[in-house]
């Protein structure tokens, strides 16, 4: 009896245990280790030298420092990317999911087509699109008879990055919205129709509130993923022109694993500051979106 009781009491550990161990190894331990390194100077060899808050001061307050300018300029670029892409990555997949949910002919085919780009690696995606946008031989310039150098002039460089990002990542959210839309009780739509609700009204009063949690989840996750952008600007524009598409993850990686000695202390401090900002924004989004407006 006692044995069974203990098993019953602790069997949840069996389920969450494996994940918890992996989470600790790949999440918690590196996080604390990174936090520690951010208070040191360390070149990945020997013992890190404790320097207190000096890395943070250098990044945040020393306006003459390259680290300060690079961090804030890449931070600005990253925010710009987030602000530009997140709404598109919610609106486009939702529109496609709504369109597909009207039971069009070949809906699974279209769903597969939209989902497929996400299966490719960013390297392959970037190579394909850089040819499409190439000034000399690119499809886009040939179609529109223009002479723009897409990757080295703004705002075109951003435009390329956004187009590629939307094309590449549209599928994930779309699948979530499709399944959410399928879960809405059709009786509600019938009732609304009987009450004379038009389609716009129905969308805002029934559809959106019904998939509220999926919207919340995708918004938070898409925002976090967008903050972590690296591959698209790295492969398409290499951070140019004039560093205008250089994002935080590029700055951090170049410092920690650049061509010379590692500047792991400064890189970790940047990662901690950046991580904290992401957490704060996610909490804010969560509070804002999970407010129950129906009461």
């Amino acid at each position: 009896m006692v044995r069974k009781g203990i098993l019953q009491r602790y069997n949840h550990l069996l389920y969450i245990g494996p994940h918890l161990i992996l989470f600790a190894i790949f999440g918690v331990i590196p996080l604390f280790f990174g936090a520690y390194i951010s208070f040191t100077t360390w070149d990945l060899t020997g013992t890190p030298q404790w320097v207190g808050l000096s890395n943070y001061k250098e990044i945040l307050f020393n306006v003459d420092s390259t680290f300060h300018t690079e961090f804030f300029s890449s931070m600005k670029n990253t925010f710009m990317f987030v602000v530009m892409t997140v709404p598109l990555l919610i609106i486009f997949p939702l529109s496609i999911a709504l369109a597909l949910n009207t039971k069009v002919k070949g809906e699974t085919l279209f769903q597969s087509i939209f989902y497929m780009p996400g299966l490719f690696s960013i390297s392959a995606v970037a190579i394909i699109w850089s040819v499409v946008f190439n000034k000399r031989i690119g499809l886009v310039n040939a179609l529109f008879h223009n002479d723009v150098n897409w990757i080295s002039t703004q705002p075109y460089a951003w435009l390329v990055i956004i187009i590629v990002t939307v094309w590449w990542t549209i599928g994930g959210n779309m699948i979530i919205y499709r399944s959410a839309l399928n879960g809405i009780d059709t009786n509600m739509y019938e009732a609304a129709a009987i009450d004379g609700s038009n389609s716009i009204n129905t969308f805002f009063k029934i559809t959106l509130p019904s998939i509220k949690f999926q919207l919340l989840y995708t918004t938070v996750m898409t925002t976090l993923a967008s903050f972590n952008v690296y591959g698209q600007p790295k492969m398409l524009t290499a951070g140019g022109p004039s560093g205008t598409t250089s994002v935080v993850m590029m700055t951090i990686r170049d410092l920690a694993f650049g061509q010379g000695k590692s500047i792991a202390g400064i890189a970790s401090a940047m990662a901690m500051i950046f991580g904290s900002i992401m957490v704060i924004i996610s909490i804010f989004q969560f509070i804002l979106m999970s407010k129950d407006n129906t009461k």
């Binding site: 030298q49 694993f257 010379g260």
Partner: protein, 407 residues
């Protein structure tokens, strides 16, 4: 937060991916040859193993190798530390300072022929720090000028008759080539070009351990590249310069010698090679580096050291596949063969002392900073977005700031 994930993940990948390293009677050799050259390196290893040595050699191609070096050295797991490492000569001063590599005297003591008399001078010298021998060279690899023979004959007949072209001659081609829609000189390997052009003027990109990036010589170098771009002589950003050359749409291509394997089979393009363009024909200089065999710190038995020596001696005498791969071998036994320069397009760089001395190694403690600092600003200057002076000031500032952080 991602950063830490990357660090731990690579530790795990290394330990999982390389299980079996360091087993008895095996010499593992980490190398960074992820491209086509990896095949030729493996060919050398296979031929060595075919001699039935007591210790077999196992080559492990290691992408992102320098990051993994730090991971494995931090893991305190000697089993996973490779017995040998093929790394770049510029890393040696840094690895010595970071106490990551062992002197190789034990290896050399059993092999009297592994000495400076048998290798290209600068490649051998690069492996010695403060009188201590830390590595044995495999090759010297440089940038060089690929040129389209027909286009040079059309736009600048005779310019390369003496096998060297000046920057002024390159610039003179630009308007003529541009009129035909032909690119003259893609500027993509700009960091290496600037290193070379500074050396051509007798300048230096370092003073002791400190990078000196903002110098009159660097300014002249950068202004020359800016002039090529401004006149319409370079590729546009986003162009693949190698493809342009292969398609016969570019007169020149300044590239690493190791990349030539992709040219050897192009149809319709009559190409040849020459040393990097110069300011004056008496002062040749081309950026070069050297792959060197070195030993990451760990204990090795005398038998293992002897086996490593035996392998390196074999490579010294049998590294010809490495020349087939496009590299210039450092072993005199191979490159002093009378037909070496005829057999291999890159061979002319070792044919006489004038060419040999033009191959400049930039091996100093903080070389890594030079590229890292130039990278950010040089392209903007070449493409006319900031002034050359501003680019060099910014690059120097960045190098100084990086130096402050524990260099």
């Amino acid at each position: 937060m991602k950063l830490k994930n990357v660090m731990i993940a690579s530790a795990v990948v290394t330990s999982v991916g390389l299980t079996g390293c360091g087993k008895d009677k095996t010499i593992t050799v980490w190398n960074p040859f992820t491209g086509g050259d990896g095949v030729y390196f493996q060919e050398m290893i296979d031929s060595y193993n075919a001699t039935n040595p007591e210790y077999e050699v196992k080559a492990v191609i290691t992408p992102d190798m320098y990051t993994k070096v730090y991971t494995v050295m931090n893991s305190n797991d000697t089993k996973n530390i490779p017995d040998l490492l093929v790394g770049h000569v510029e890393r040696i001063p840094l690895f010595v300072q970071q106490d990551l590599i062992n002197p190789m005297e034990d290896v050399l003591s059993s092999q009297p022929n592994l000495n400076g008399d048998n290798y290209l001078e600068q490649a051998w010298d690069g492996g010695e720090i403060d009188g201590v021998r830390y590595s044995v060279p495999l090759d010297i690899h440089s940038i060089l000028l690929f040129y389209n023979v027909d286009l040079v004959n059309k736009y600048a007949p005779g310019a390369l008759d003496d096998d060297i072209i000046t920057w002024d001659e390159v610039l003179a081609i630009v308007p003529k080539a541009k009129a035909d829609g032909i690119v003259t000189f893609p500027v993509r390997t700009s960091n290496w070009l600037i290193d070379s052009m500074v050396a051509q003027q007798g300048g230096s990109i370092y003073d002791g351990d400190t990078p000196t990036l903002n110098t009159p010589e660097a300014l002249k170098a950068l202004e020359t590249l800016v002039a090529i771009d401004a006149a319409g002589g370079s590729e546009v950003e986003g162009d693949d310069a190698v493809l342009l050359f292969q398609a016969g749409e570019s007169v020149f291509l300044e590239e690493g010698i190791w990349a030539q394997s992709s040219f050897t089979n192009i149809e319709g393009v009559n190409w040849s090679v020459a040393n990097t363009p110069v300011f004056d024909e008496n002062n040749l200089a081309a950026w070069s580096s050297s792959h060197q065999f070195m030993e990451l710190k760990k204990d090795r038995t005398p038998e293992e050291q002897a086996a490593i020596g035996e392998f390196l001696e074999y490579v010294r005498l049998n590294c010809e596949p490495w020349a087939v791969a496009g590299q210039n071998v450092a072993s005199k036994t191979i490159y002093e063969q009378p037909d070496y320069a005829d057999k291999y397009p890159q061979g002319f760089l070792l044919k006489d002392t004038r060419e040999q001395e033009s191959l400049k190694l930039f091996s100093f403690l903080n070389y890594g900073l030079v590229d890292q600092s130039y990278d950010t600003y040089i392209t903007d200057a070449i493409r006319g977005r900031i002034s050359p002076q501003e680019a060099l000031e910014n690059a120097q500032k960045k190098a100084d700031d990086l130096m402050k952080e524990g260099y």
